[in-house]
Amino acid sequence: MTPDDKKLAKLARERKMHRWLTTLSWSVPAVSFGGMFTIWHAIAKSPVATAAKAMATQSAHTSATHVTSASGRTTVRTAAAADPVVLQQGDKGSKVAALQQSLSALGFFNYAITGTYGPITAAAVEAFQAAEGLTPTGAVDERTLTALQQAMKAHATRALTGSGSSSSGSSSSGSSSSGSSSGGGSAMPSFPGPVTSAS
């Protein structure tokens, strides 16, 4: 082994040691912080903490305030942006196709269903937003989506229960005959026959 080789080996060892120390210096605080959290939660959930909480409420114990705040029933919610965008220009797929179909059914979109959110779809979304009194952004945010869902539901409801246009064209052959029904409220408690119920 030449001195150069030795030097190189030494350098490699040092580099390895350096890497190891770096990893250690990052992981130790991370692990200990995580551990502290686990312990904190365990304490917060334990009956001791509840007792401590009760004690804290009885006598304003300074050391117990921390525990109290930890055991306080805070519902952790995933913080979402004020009105996150669900679909926007550039998106593709079945949801975009459904959006185009919906806008088409509502009369805001008159082109082929492509499944690609382009400028024409964006313009249709803007028109829909304007009609609904929303800020016309051309992107489908949650508020726009809710408005679209409700508009589609109202559209379908009108079609089903609106004047004269009730559902027709039963697929049933009509060859069999079902009997008429008798009464609501008349109970037949002891009859051991079939019962219909929701599942």
């Binding site: 079945s94 959006l99 229960t161 049933s172 026959g193 219909t196 929701a198």
Partner: protein, 302 residues
């Protein structure tokens, strides 16, 4: 009257027979019936990864060969999707799977607060295409849950098989769906009490046809925040439906028709649901119905 019962399709299957049969004859019929149902389950179950339906769901986006029965029920589902303008929607999107919809109810962890936001964009046309052979292509991003309509189809098919075996007066029931086949008197089908009482809230008399009930009173649970949830999903919002109908029972020639109409009327709510079912009755699509509301009213229609 004789009866026999067993468990299948995740529910209780009951057969009531008014013909004269010996004990062994009845049990032999029940055995054949159970075998039939198991055969259909292997096609339609969404919770059996080996079923034809599960295979179709996994291969959404490509053409899949399906058995004739699945092709028939999917066509029926697509037909009713169009007829009801999406109110009947067995095509659930990826956005609905998040709500714990992908597991059977027994597996559902009811202690968690479900996500009460949905990014559902309701489809306008059934996201399924039919080819020859029979082959089916499901649009990518969708899954089929035939649920009630498949159960209705299975019960009706099995009832036909029993009739072919020589039974003339009988009722076949599976988890609340009843198919009656009678050559004589109409059968009284009692409607279960959705308010918690033991007394039925009414009776629908059926000579030959199906009775199905859809309700929000079963499989409901309360979230930690006190909100009452149920399993009936509004296909437009992707969230549990906000309806004042508690239970809707419909009697129609076809059990699958009864199944669809009951579900749609439940989603429409008691007023619009009554309106819709009355129109359907006038059009000859259903023969009678019974609606119970959350206010405690019972609306019968004979």
């Amino acid at each position: 009257m004789q009866s026999t019962a067993f468990r299948a399709m995740g529910t209780d299957v009951e057969l009531f027979v008014d013909d004269w049969l010996t004990g062994p004859e009845l049990s032999s019929l029940a055995c054949q019936l159970e075998a039939s149902i198991r055969r259909y389950e292997r096609i339609f179950s969404r919770f059996d990864p080996a079923s034809h339906l599960s295979r179709l769901n996994r291969q959404a986006g490509s053409w899949v060969m399906v058995p004739a029965e699945l092709d028939e029920v999917l066509k029926l589902a697509a037909h009713w999707f169009e007829q009801t303008r999406g109110y009947f929607d067995p095509f659930i999107g990826e956005d609905m799977r998040r709500m714990g919809y992908s597991v059977t109810f027994d597996q559902l962890d009811v202690t968690v607060e479900p996500i009460l936001a949905s990014t559902r964009v309701p489809p306008v046309k059934p996201p399924v295409e039919f080819g020859t052979d029979p082959a089916v292509r499901l649009q990518p991003g969708y899954e089929v849950d035939l649920g009630g309509i498949a159960k209705g189809f299975i019960v009706a098919r099995c009832a036909e098989e029993l009739r072919a075996q020589g039974l003339r007066n009988f009722a076949l029931s599976a988890g609340g769906d009843v198919q009656v086949m009678s050559d004589g008197e109409p059968w009284p089908v009692r409607v279960a009490n959705p308010f918690g009482g033991a007394e039925p809230i009414g009776t629908l008399a059926v000579k030959r046809g199906g009775v199905a009930t859809s309700g929000t009173y079963k499989r409901r649970w309360q979230t930690p925040s006190g909100r009452v949830m149920h399993h009936l999903i509004d296909p437009f919002t992707g969230l549990p439906a906000d309806t004042d109908a508690l239970s809707v029972s419909v009697c129609a020639d076809e059990l699958t028709t009864a199944e669809v109409l009951a579900k749609v009327a439940l989603l429409l709510g008691s007023d619009r649901g009554t309106q819709y079912l009355c129109a359907a009755r006038e059009a000859g699509i259903c023969s009678s119905f019974l609606i119970a509301t959350t206010k405690g009213d019972v609306i019968p229609c004979n």
